[in-house]
């Protein structure tokens, strides 16, 4: 055996080194590919004004390079995938939340400064005295979705042009190939292009031709919106960006200044008595969208504290978040413990089967259970209210989804159903690990069953499952699934506010950011997220203190 292995690995040195050389080369190639991608990605982020993310991506890339190029950093190579994901998907969003909470990132100011400027500077308009052309459409033979225009000046001055998206060529530089100009001066065809009769362009006039910009970036030709079937015009840039960051509107002569990221008219040819910039008819001019988001200091926090319209509903949501988590843990714990005690007696035929059956609600995916309960608790049609109203002394069932009180009861009922098996599981485990001899002693001292439970079982049980109860509290503190799917946090507290009677902080945040009908307000939503963060951190610290598990964790490292 020894010799066989020795014989097999006789050229090991050479084999080994060539193999490790191969691995090194492969590693460097992989690293080069990652770097190439990262440089491309970071450049694009910088061009878009996404500086924070660009910094994160750059730092991660540098770190990966360090880990893979320096032998001393060898162990960190093993963390490259995990840490990259952790930093990019958890730590970056956390830092970004912290930043957004201090900005006005919301509808109307959704872009970075660079992006907003790009959008505005690409806008064009047709000046009053613009040069106009009569047009004829051409379609590319290679790409049937690519269109171009043959443009002949209507005033007869200057050359005809062939304008395709991104490029315009004057007649004198065009190679007509075998084609000729007809009596109107329009080529019968062009190499690579076919001429399309006007009648065939009507179908796509509005959907395609009127939306396409022909010609180069700073000399654009588009169909004249006032007379699209006959005329095209030379469009000009609507806005010019001045050195001081203000925008000048070339069409109206109004100057806009970015105030908190929104371009607001500050100067122009017409003003009213209050000094507002107006149009020719005296109507005050609106701001231009899109704007960009900028830091606004503590304004979001001030709104939370100072605005009565927001503070009132927020406090209700805040309190219900705690109450919801507390009562959920409370009722599930007691019901679960009750069942655990019932089934913990040694003489219980069928105990294993009964326990497994009672686990089923816990095994169902929560999102399905909630939707089922939503059906059962439907106010008019659900089986629960139909049963209740069939009883002789009840006229109408509880308004499970439209009453401020009953929606909370409904959510706790669902929570009880979903959560008691878990509590039964953990309390059963804890009950079985309690020492038996102290009960013997208690019995000798004359303690009855209730006293034994109250003074022995319960305290020991709480020590054992305490950390799990706190973890369960923290989990339900942010139990988005149940609250959102049952009633979307509704019914609303007041019609003009996003907060609802069953909303908890996380669903409130979600509604602020993604709720329909009301503009997105990522800045304010991030402010609420910071509140959640703070509370989760406090609960965690409390849990560590309470259980001293931090020491245990630190030792386990």
């Amino acid at each position: 055996m020894e010799t066989a292995r020795g014989a097999l690995s006789r050229p090991p040195a050479a084999l080994f080194s060539s193999r490790s050389l191969l691995i090194t080369v492969l590693r460097l190639i992989a690293l080069a590919l990652i770097d190439a991608f990262a440089i491309w990605f970071v450049t694009r982020l910088v061009n878009d004004g996404e500086y924070l993310l660009a910094i994160f991506a750059a730092v991660i890339t540098v770190a990966i390079n360090v880990a893979f190029l320096f032998e001393g950093m060898y162990p960190y190579r093993w963390f490259a995938p995990g840490l990259t994901l952790l930093i990019l998907m958890i730590i970056y969003p956390t830092i970004f939340t912290l930043y957004v909470a201090f900005t006005n990132y919301k509808d109307g100011n959704l872009l970075t400064r660079v992006q907003a400027e790009d959008v505005l500077l690409s806008r064009t308009f047709l000046p009053e005295d613009a040069k106009t052309y009569s047009w004829t459409a051409f379609r590319s033979l290679e790409d049937p979705n690519r269109w171009a225009l043959w443009l002949i000046p209507t005033d007869g001055e200057g050359e005809a042009l062939f304008a395709e998206p991104g490029q315009a060529t004057p007649l004198s530089e065009i190679d007509l190939g075998e084609n000729t100009l007809d009596e109107d001066g329009i080529p019968t065809g062009l190499p690579g292009w076919e001429r399309v009769p006007f009648a065939k362009t009507i179908a796509i006039l509005d959907s395609v031709l009127a939306k396409t910009e022909f010609g180069e970036e700073d000399e654009k030709f588009m169909l004249n919106p006032k007379n699209p079937t006959k005329q095209a015009g030379r469009f000009e840039r609507k806005y010019t960006l001045n050195d001081d960051g203000t925008l000048y509107d070339n069409e109206t002569g109004v100057t806009y200044k970015a105030i908190r990221g929104t371009y607001t008219p500050v100067d122009g040819p017409y003003k009213n008595a209050q000094g507002q910039v107006t149009d020719a008819e005296g109507q005050p001019l609106p701001v231009i969208r899109p704007g960009y988001y900028v830091p606004i200091g503590l304004d979001n926090f001030k709104r939370l504290i100072e605005s009565d319209k927001i503070r009132g509903p927020f406090i209700r949501v805040f309190l219900w978040t705690f109450a919801h988590a507390f009562f959920t843990v409370f009722i599930t714990f007691w019901f679960g413990l009750f069942l655990a005690l019932l089934l913990n007696v040694r003489f219980t035929p069928g105990r294993a089967v009964l326990r497994t059956l009672l686990l089923v609600p816990y095994a169902m995916p929560a999102f399905i259970s909630v939707l089922v309960w939503k059906g059962l608790l439907n106010e008019q049609l659900g089986v629960i209210n139909k049963f209740l109203t069939s009883l002789p002394f009840i006229d109408t069932g509880p308004r499970w989804t439209s009453s401020a009180l009953w929606v909370k009861v409904a959510i706790l009922l669902i929570q009880l159903w979903l959560g008691f098996p878990y509590m039964m599981l953990i309390t059963t485990g804890a009950l079985q690990s309690l020492p038996g001899d102290i009960y013997e002693a208690a019995r000798v001292d004359g303690a009855n069953a209730f006293q034994q439970f109250r003074h022995l079982t319960l305290p020991m049980l709480l020590v054992a499952v305490g950390p799990l109860l706190i973890a369960s509290f923290a989990f339900n503190f942010n139990n988005f699934t149940i609250v959102e799917l049952f009633n979307k946090g509704g019914p609303p507290i007041s019609p003009d506010q996003p907060a609802g009677h069953s909303d908890i902080l996380i669903t409130y945040t979600y509604e602020l950011a993604f709720g329909s009908g009301r503009g997105a307000d990522y800045g304010f939503a991030s402010t609420i997220t910071l509140v959640i963060f703070l509370i989760v951190a406090l609960i965690t610290v409390f849990n560590f203190r309470f259980t001293r598990s931090w020491e245990e964790i630190s030792e386990n490292v």
Partner: protein, 295 residues
């Protein structure tokens, strides 16, 4: 045996049975509470003509019509949702296990500067899951998608990327503990034979820690399958939606009329997870008492 002790014994046995029957009665009440919603939707799923309003416990017109409609409708592509969910959850679970195992191996086998702080950082960070920073996560995926479209909003790539943010977390701790219990003599002897770290990890450690890999994989699968907040935020088109988002949308659209179809979908959607959890029940009992909380 004296007659007195016989009577005593008899009485004790009777009391024991009475006590059992009383407890059984209470447990049956609890079972009724636990099972009435499930039985109700099982009945609804077979009730071909019933709506939420008209359904009865015993279907009047029993049949598989609802299942038929569930699987053939274009308005609510249930099969598609189910497939999306299973696909996303499987890929997430697999990559989570892979990333986590690689890191756990390094934590377990290497001693290097910063190891302790790194482990504690991982532990602290996982206290704040990325569902909390859902707004920033949404904006991040939106930005990434502007440049790399298959990782953007409304894609499974983007969704999986977000889920993988949590790959390095409590799982890694669980695995590291398990890896620690594999004797290092095994590594050493392999190293003497010229095996690299990667070879030792892949050929020696991984086969020995399969149970913990399975556990982490199943936990990750169940957690991903049940996620609502992230998938609801990222996925907008019905064809890419996962079951959690799709079912919610479906039932909000047409609650009453489609109750039977919904019930059929709820049952089919629940079965994989119920089977998984009940068959790995023993692990869950022990795993739970160690602090893992199901999502």
């Amino acid at each position: 045996m004296s007659s007195l002790s016989y009577v005593m014994h008899n009485k004790m046995a009777r009391d024991r049975w009475l006590n059992y029957l009383l407890r059984l009665f209470l447990v049956i009440l609890a079972l009724f509470f636990a099972f009435f919603p499930i039985i109700w939707i099982i009945s609804a799923s077979f009730d071909q003509t019933g709506t939420l309003n008209t359904q009865r416990l015993i279907p009047r017109n029993a049949g598989l019509g609802n299942y038929d409609r569930l699987l053939s409708s274009d308005i609510h592509p249930f099969g598609r949702w189910m497939w999306n969910s299973i696909k996303v959850a499987s890929i997430t679970a697999f990559l989570t296990v892979l990333v986590s195992a690689i890191s756990a191996y390094a934590f377990s086998r290497f001693r290097f500067r910063g190891r302790r702080s790194l482990m504690l950082t991982v532990f602290i960070v996982q206290v704040f899951p990325n569902s909390l920073t859902i707004v920033a996560t949404f904006l991040l995926i939106q930005t990434i998608g502007r440049h790399v479209s298959w990782l953007g909003l409304n894609t499974h790539g983007g969704l999986i990327l977000v889920y993988l943010g949590g790959a390095l977390g409590i799982n890694t701790w669980l695995m590291k503990g398990f890896f620690d219990s594999i004797p290092r003599d095994l590594d050493e002897s392999a190293r003497i034979d010229g095996a690299s770290d990667w070879l030792i990890f892949w050929r020696i450690i991984i086969p020995l820690v399969r149970p913990v890999l399975a556990v982490v994989g199943i936990l990750s699968f169940i957690g991903t399958y049940g996620d609502v907040i992230i998938s609801l935020t990222l996925l907008k088109d019905k064809d890419v939606q996962t079951l959690a988002v799709g079912l919610n949308r479906f039932i909000s659209d047409s609650f009453n009329r489609e109750w039977g179809v919904f019930s059929a979908g709820a049952l089919i959607g629940a079965i994989p997870i119920v089977v998984l959890i009940l068959s790995f029940q023993r692990f869950f009992v022990s795993g739970l008492t160690e602090g893992a909380v199901k999502g």
